[in-house]
């Protein structure tokens, strides 16, 4: 009898519980939104202006080689004769072994410090893409102004290193030539695991806090008939914890930035860089109306990570890209601006900004498909 007496109350309680459970379950789903992207291009963020290399553009590598040989004390007539045979003939061996240790020739690429520093030209201009990494703003020494945001105190010493070499100069001064990293990425992207970005928030059509995941995938991008990265393909997130990065961020006027700036690590590919390893990570990504995205990622990166993929190619890199490898080694070492070695005091990291474009994609857990 008691049951019947309390039946309306019980029914109400059950109804309330069901409603509450439904709401509790549905709330996050109904209000949250996730968009994933996969990188479709990646290159050094270069903003080159006509007057940003007061020392001039770096000479062609054949000219640089002649200077290198002269620095070793070789007479001009001999240099001229040898260089006439380049890229073949005995000069190749001489150039590869233009380092000197105890007076003996050694490989210049495995021993770049044994080569006389050719002192490549450095950028000395007003603008560079990037971020105010050290937080000093306009007071930051050797800093730039971002040409888009016009924020001052931009730290991007990598641009200073590369920016006076023709294959690394970007728009607006050099709008047509492909920049080295962009070309290399474009060529190799179907063969290395893709990098993905996932943005999650309550409502990505409105401003508000977001979570940003930057991960490596098991899968590579697919290309369409025009060689563009296919949109809306599926990527399995690599379970390797070394390439999982989660940041808190903010979406404002369609632009995602980070509100925490911890380290980022993505395993890369030595065709471009062994790893993308950043401290003080900064990120700015614009969600385009057409569903694509583009942006910048930056921070302080070990300069050795930049140097190794270029140095390992040795004379081949110099021949194809026309930039002096030992010169690059010295420039990166000299302009490194963070993470001093506790023993030597030498900085181990350099401020960088990389620019990317991205297309929409589906990013899933690796275990969610049976594909081996």
């Amino acid at each position: 009898m008691k049951f019947f007496r309390y039946r309306p109350l019980i029914a109400l309680s059950v109804l309330a519980t069901v409603v509450l459970l439904t709401l509790a379950h549905a709330s996050p789903t109904a209000a949250s939104e996730t968009r994933s992207y996969v990188l479709s291009s990646f290159t050094d963020a270069a903003y080159s202006t006509k007057d940003d290399c007061p020392g001039g553009i770096d000479p062609d590598q054949t000219v640089q080689y002649a200077l290198d040989l002269a620095a070793l004390g070789m007479p001009q007539d001999q240099i001229k004769k040898l260089m006439a045979g380049y890229p073949n003939g005995p000069v190749v061996g001489l150039l590869i072994n233009r380092g000197r240790i105890n007076g003996k020739p050694v490989n210049a690429y495995t021993n770049p410090a044994s080569v006389i520093d050719p002192k490549l030209h450095m950028v000395d201009g007003r603008y560079a893409y990037g971020f105010n990494l050290d937080g000093k703003g306009a007071n930051s020494p050797n800093s730039f102004e971002d040409p888009v945001t016009h924020e001052s105190g931009i730290d991007n010493q990598l641009f200073r290193v590369f920016g006076c070499h023709k294959n690394f100069r970007g728009p607006p001064a050099n709008a047509t030539a492909p920049m080295y990293y962009g070309a290399e990425w474009s060529q190799a992207r179907p063969t290395f695991p893709a990098w993905s970005i996932t943005i999650s928030g309550d409502d990505l059509s409105r401003d508000g806090p977001v979570t940003v995941s930057i991960d490596r995938s098991i899968d590579s991008v697919l290309l369409d008939a025009q060689g563009n990265t296919e949109s809306f393909t599926t990527f399995r997130r690599d379970p390797d914890p070394r390439s999982r990065n989660v940041f808190q961020g903010q979406l404002e006027h369609g632009v995602v930035t980070l509100t925490d700036h911890h380290d980022l690590h993505l395993v890369g590919d030595p065709i471009l860089m062994n790893d993308l390893d950043l401290s003080h990570t900064h990120f700015r990504m614009t969600l385009e109306p057409n569903g694509n995205a583009d942006g910048l990622i930056g921070g302080y990166q070990p300069w050795m990570e930049i140097f190794l993929p270029l140095g390992q190619a040795g004379i081949g890199f110099e021949e194809f890209q026309g930039i002096d490898v030992p010169g690059l080694y010295y420039a990166l070492r000299r302009l490194a601006d963070a993470d001093p070695d506790p023993k030597t005091g030498a900085n181990r990291r350099i401020s960088v900004a990389w620019q990317f474009t991205a297309v929409p994609a589906f990013v899933v857990h690796a275990q969610s498909t049976a594909r081996p």
């Binding site: 190799a188 179907p190 063969t191 395993v267 030595p270 140095g311 390992q312």
Partner: protein, 445 residues
């Protein structure tokens, strides 16, 4: 000689198989139970450029056009056409140039490998009745007729190495296999994921044989229900050798080898995959020859990287390698970049550039004290006396950061060997023309 075969299976029209059997490999078998290519003490070595002894020449594809039988030290073995089974015609002065491949007391005949006594009482290896020798002018692993892979001209050569002529003498090759009657649309290639020389279709996809009970009828029934695709014989194809054609009820003509129906596997994505192995005990890769594998090693399927060598417990095995410059990329592609045994051997068991915590992270994969070189497997003796397994020139390790089968957390860890001291010579143990960029990579078979 014409052999007539008939396979009577209900519901299947059997076709008479005609074929010449002028040359039949007695050991050829259409299953993963194919005979192991080598007995203990006999190794397999890629010849010439397949060794890639110099990093700079390891650009893009490394051709492995020839794989030879070799002695325990990796020296190429040869045959002499004047010899007959159990009888060597190379004696006295001849043996100064062509030393007989002598077998230790513990050696035992195995499969196509047998032993015979020479006049001086020593025992000599012979393969399929052909006595074997080494050549005194071979100085390095992968040398053939005295041409070393370490000579840049040889390392750069694509395709078979140009060899000096020594009339009557031939290198003893396991690959390519020659003289086997085979359909034009089928080939034999090295498939690491199957740990052997496998039959592949015209697209290079691994072929499988049904070895379960119930014969062809069961094979077709099971195949229709699963992911096995019949290996279709073209309309104009003829049976050849031990290859026959069955016509199914649906009219499809399907290849069979030694009466076992052949299939490809829908789960194989690309040439070189062998993902059908292990799906069921009823199916096996159709191998012409299988390669030796130590008892405590297995192939482990991974996500996105194909099969990798693993310990008996399934933990991924790694090797240390130098970056092969490949402007097309591919360092982290499925199956990785080609193995460069010469580079692996020159790096050896040294961990230069991997000190401190790095050194604690990598554990040598220990071989039993009595283990012998066999096939692609060799043994290195570490400075502390420990025996370490070596696969195709590379010393093998496990990674302390891996906890379970399938983990590959040590893959693509890079160590630069570079000093800022202008007077310090950077030496990684292997010739590199570029900056020394060594890395740890999963050991692909």
């Amino acid at each position: 000689m014409i052999r007539t075969g008939f396979i009577g299976v209900g519901g299947i029209v059997a076709i008479t198989a005609f074929g010449t059997l002028g040359y039949v490999l007695p050991s050829l078998a259409a299953s993963s139970e194919a005979p192991v290519a080598t007995p203990p003490g006999i190794t397999l070595q890629a010849l010439g450029a397949g060794q890639s002894s110099v990093m700079a020449f390891a650009l893009t594809e490394v051709p492995r056009t020839q794989i030879a039988f070799a002695d325990a030290k990796g020296m190429t073995l040869y045959t002499y056409d004047k010899d007959s089974p159990g009888k060597s015609r190379c004696a006295a002065a001849c043996t100064k140039f062509w030393p007989p491949a002598l077998a230790p007391r513990s050696a035992r005949a195995m499969g196509d490998w047998s032993l015979f006594k020479r006049g001086d009482g020593t025992r000599q290896w012979q393969y399929r009745g052909k006595p074997l020798y080494t050549f005194v002018r071979d100085t390095d692993v992968g040398s053939v007729f005295g041409v070393s892979p370490n000579r840049p001209a040889a390392a750069r050569t694509r395709g078979p190495v140009k060899q000096p002529q020594y009339p009557g003498w031939d290198s003893a090759l396991v690959f390519p296999l020659s003289g086997i009657p085979m359909p034009a649309s089928i080939a034999i290639r090295e498939v690491g994921d199957a740990n052997g020389l496998a039959f592949v279709d015209r697209d290079g996809m691994t072929i499988y044989a049904f070895k379960g009970r119930g014969g062809a009828k069961a094979a077709m029934r099971l195949a229709d229900q699963t992911q096995w695709k019949p290996l279709v014989a073209p309309a104009l194809a003829h049976p050849i050798g031990e290859w026959s054609i069955l016509t199914r009820r649906d009219g499809i003509r399907q290849w069979a080898f030694r009466g076992k129906l052949l299939f490809t596997f829908a789960g194989d994505q690309t040439s070189g995959d062998a993902n059908g192995i292990g799906v069921s005990k009823d199916w096996a890769a159709a191998l012409a020859v299988s390669f030796y594998m130590p008892p405590k090693v297995r192939l482990e399927q991974t996500l996105g990287r194909g099969k990798v060598l693993a310990t008996g417990e399934g933990l991924t095995l790694y090797r240390r390698d130098g970056i092969a410059i490949d402007y097309g990329g591919g360092q982290s592609a499925r199956h990785g970049v080609p193995i460069q045994p010469g580079v692996g051997r020159s790096i050896g068991v040294s961990l230069k550039g991997c000190e401190g915590a790095c050194l604690k992270a990598w554990h040598p994969f220990v071989a039993p004290a009595n283990a012998q070189p066999d096939g692609f497997w060799d043994i290195a003796i570490r400075p502390d006396g420990l025996h370490q397994w070596v696969y195709q020139g590379y010393a093998l390790y496990t990674f302390s950061g891996d906890a379970k089968p399938g983990d590959m957390n040590g893959n693509d860890i890079f160590n630069a060997v570079l000093s800022d001291n202008p007077n310090q010579l950077n030496d990684v143990g292997t010739p590199m023309t570029g900056t020394a960029n060594l890395y740890w990579t999963i050991a692909y078979p």
